[in-house]
Subunit: 249 residues, 2 copies
DNA sequence: CGTGACGTTGAAGAGCGTCAAGAAAAGTGG
DNA sequence: CCACTTTTCTTGACGCTCTTCAACGTCACG
């Protein structure tokens, strides 16, 4: 645990500015939240399903994901979190999470006690609304994933995930031209998309051979954004990004 | 449109009492919300994706569902709403919905203007928290559906949906012993579960022949709750019902 | 007694899963 | 820097779940 530094929660401020610009006082209030910083290694557990927590987690750097264990051995990945995300906002109002979380890369996390967040939302209704809004966007992303799992084939699902992650990372300047880090292994992609790693592998080969993407050494490059969007039937509206850099086909 | 009657929003009060019992003042505040009541026929559109609305909808009676249209012809159903649900709480903080809504049965809906709800949440932080909580539960249900679409077979998905709907209806006294109405046609079930209606049909036959359920004339009866839960790997915790009547296997 | 919506069933086929094995990368310790 | 191990990726062969297509049955309703 490291004491909170000055500009520590800047990613959160940036995220919450998605709706309206925040006032100085509001930004100040966030900055002075007593956050504990923790750096976790890849594969390390951040949160265990069913166990109540007393603080909310904010991803400052690195990637994490939420998943459930099924008795049949499945381990569906339910969400992927990148810098700026607050993956367990639900713990503010629900007793125990219905999912677990692990780090996909080495990650820097800030933990803010629920009590402090409750004080914050009581004092600043705008911030309460902004946090609520984040939770609603999470649900919208869930719906987009459901639609894919339900009615898209493997190509469409992969393409859609890549489009989504590219825009979400762009919004936080984590993209490099059309390239982004891709810490998910093929088994992780499979668990996120309801496929097997073998089929993910074959489908990736297909996307590569069509010149849509390249993916190696944990780095994804999108070679044909428009065509990829078309394959994915991607419409970025559900992400509710402010200036959604490049739009869909 | 019918003017709001006295006990009109009782289902909402009951729902929001899920966390803590509401005070008299809070209940009173909800009751005096200026709600417009609308009765819609089955199959009628309630909300169109992409079109902003100025009020939130509360289901007082009947069933509705949320879905998206995909260009490939798919129409994934993303949520099923029963009495007590507030299906488009997201419109309070997000400009345009990412889904459409139709009535699955003739339904009675209350529409409360956003402005009134904002006044309410400003005046009663407990109610703001309760509404926020509802949105979080919606997301938890989304995650349960994702897990199913991702890693359960047709049998498991059907069984899981039936278990979920049974408990959600029980919580509002809409169950009759182990029987509930089931307005979803087989094509609707297919769209909700990521299957085809043909396969839903065959899988239903299987569940019937095992003596788990019977389903005809829009009425579902569960003959073996424990075995059905086992098939579904059902754990009701994610629903966050107060006295979740009967628990999982 | 038609007519449309919904349910049921069969046959054939596609997409994806399973199993298995080998190749390439990526850590580990000397 | 090199063996060594472990993880991840890749590929093939085969099979199963679920889809597709199409026909027929059934019930409600005007």
């Amino acid at each position: 645990m490291v004491p909170a530094a000055a500009n520590l929660l800047a990613p959160l401020i940036r995220k919450l500015s998605g709706a309206d610009r925040l006032s100085q006082a509001e930004q100040q209030a966030i900055q002075s939240l007593p956050a504990k910083v923790r750096i976790v290694e890849a594969q390390q557990t951040i949160l265990s399903g069913g166990e109540a927590s007393t603080s909310c987690c904010i991803v400052l750097d690195g990637w994490t994901c939420a998943f459930q264990w099924l008795r049949n051995g499945g381990r569906p990945i339910l969400a992927i979190n990148v810098p700026g995300d607050a993956p367990d906002l639900q713990s503010l109002h629900l007793p125990a999470p219905d999912f677990s979380m692990v780090a996909l890369t080495r990650a820097t996390l800030a933990f803010v006690p629920h009590a402090e967040l409750h004080k914050l939302t009581a004092a600043f209704p705008t911030l309460a609304a902004a946090l609520w809004r984040e939770a609603l966007i999470t649900a919208a992303i869930h719906r987009a994933w459901m639609a894919g799992l339900s009615r898209r084939d493997a190509r469409g699902r992969l393409a859609h995930l890549f489009c989504e992650l590219y825009l979400r990372l762009s919004a936080f300047d984590r993209a490099n031209g059309y390239a982004i880090p891709m810490p998910l292994r093929q088994t992780d992609l499979a668990d996120a998309l309801g496929l097997t790693s073998v089929h993910v592998n074959r489908t990736l080969r297909e996307l590569r051979s069509e010149g849509l993407i390249s993916l190696h050494s944990r780095r994804l490059e999108i070679h044909a954004w428009d065509r990829l969007c078309a394959v994915a039937e991607f419409d970025p509206q559900y992400l509710h990004l402010k200036a959604s850099g490049r739009n869909a086909a």
